[in-house]
């Protein structure tokens, strides 16, 4: 089932962190429980990327971050993702020079974000520029590949405007978005 984003249908915030870097809200589950979730938008760990921030969410860990390995059974994925992305929109409106990145190294997460961008292309285009990032390896003139001393290929990131033709079998390695 595709995730449908609607910024007019989001969960109410319980609390905010400074500069909209975080927000807590309750997300109803299919079994009737309400689970508190914590959205965290944090500076990228690499100091060479000062204008890239990571977006994540999950149950709070009690230390200002969230647990990313808890599987929940949300009543509405549409409303959940609408809440998360609406918060990200507000963060970017407050910090328009920044770009948000979502690591696609977890296949489930990559499929969710890839599908979300595809399913909401028209709607989200009013707010964001979606970007997909693949990794590439340099080929030398002798047709050998650039490698490290340990034999691993040297990958470099190459961003492109999100290609909406690519399906869920052709995921990007990393997803980013910024304000239009």
């Amino acid at each position: 089932m595709p995730i449908i984003i609607n910024f007019e249908d989001t969960y109410e915030p319980l609390s905010f962190g400074d500069n909209l870097t975080s927000m807590a809200f309750n997300a109803p589950q299919k079994d009737g429980r309400e689970v508190e979730l914590f959205i965290l938008i944090s500076p990228h760990s690499d100091p060479l990327l000062p204008n890239v921030y990571n977006l994540g969410f999950g149950p709070p860990d009690g230390n200002g971050s969230f647990l990313d390995d808890v599987r929940l059974n949300h009543q509405s994925l549409n409303k959940l993702f609408s809440t998360v992305i609406f918060h990200a929109l507000n963060f970017l409106l407050n910090n328009p020079e920044l770009t948000i990145g979502v690591d696609g190294s977890d296949d489930l997460r990559a499929r969710l974000y890839h599908g979300m961008f595809k399913s909401n292309r028209g709607y989200l285009a009013d707010y964001f520029l979606a970007i997909g990032v693949d990794w590439y390896v340099r080929i030398f003139r002798d047709f050998s590949y650039e490698q490290e001393e340990n034999g691993h290929y040297v990958s470099k990131p190459r961003p492109e405007p999100f290609d909406y033709v690519r399906d869920n079998r052709d995921l990007y390695r990393y997803y980013m978005f910024r304000l239009i």
Partner: protein
């Protein structure tokens, strides 16, 4: 932008800045843990090229 969404954004901004609204415990903003993008940026040159490509995509999209 949808007018309803615009109004909601204004409301959200007010809510977030309302000192009477419950705020998180004051915890310093922490950087994220290493992600895969960080593993393929090895130098300032890599980072500068990557960000320049992002900016170029933005400019072309306008």
């Amino acid at each position: 932008m949808n007018q309803n969404v615009q109004q909601k954004i204004e409301q959200y901004k007010r809510l977030a800045s309302d000192k009477n609204h419950k705020a998180h415990r004051d915890i310093a903003v922490r950087t994220s843990t290493q992600d895969s993008l960080g593993s393929v940026i090895r130098s300032k040159k890599d980072a500068d090229i990557f960000m320049a490509e992002l900016d170029s995509i933005s400019r072309k999209s306008k």
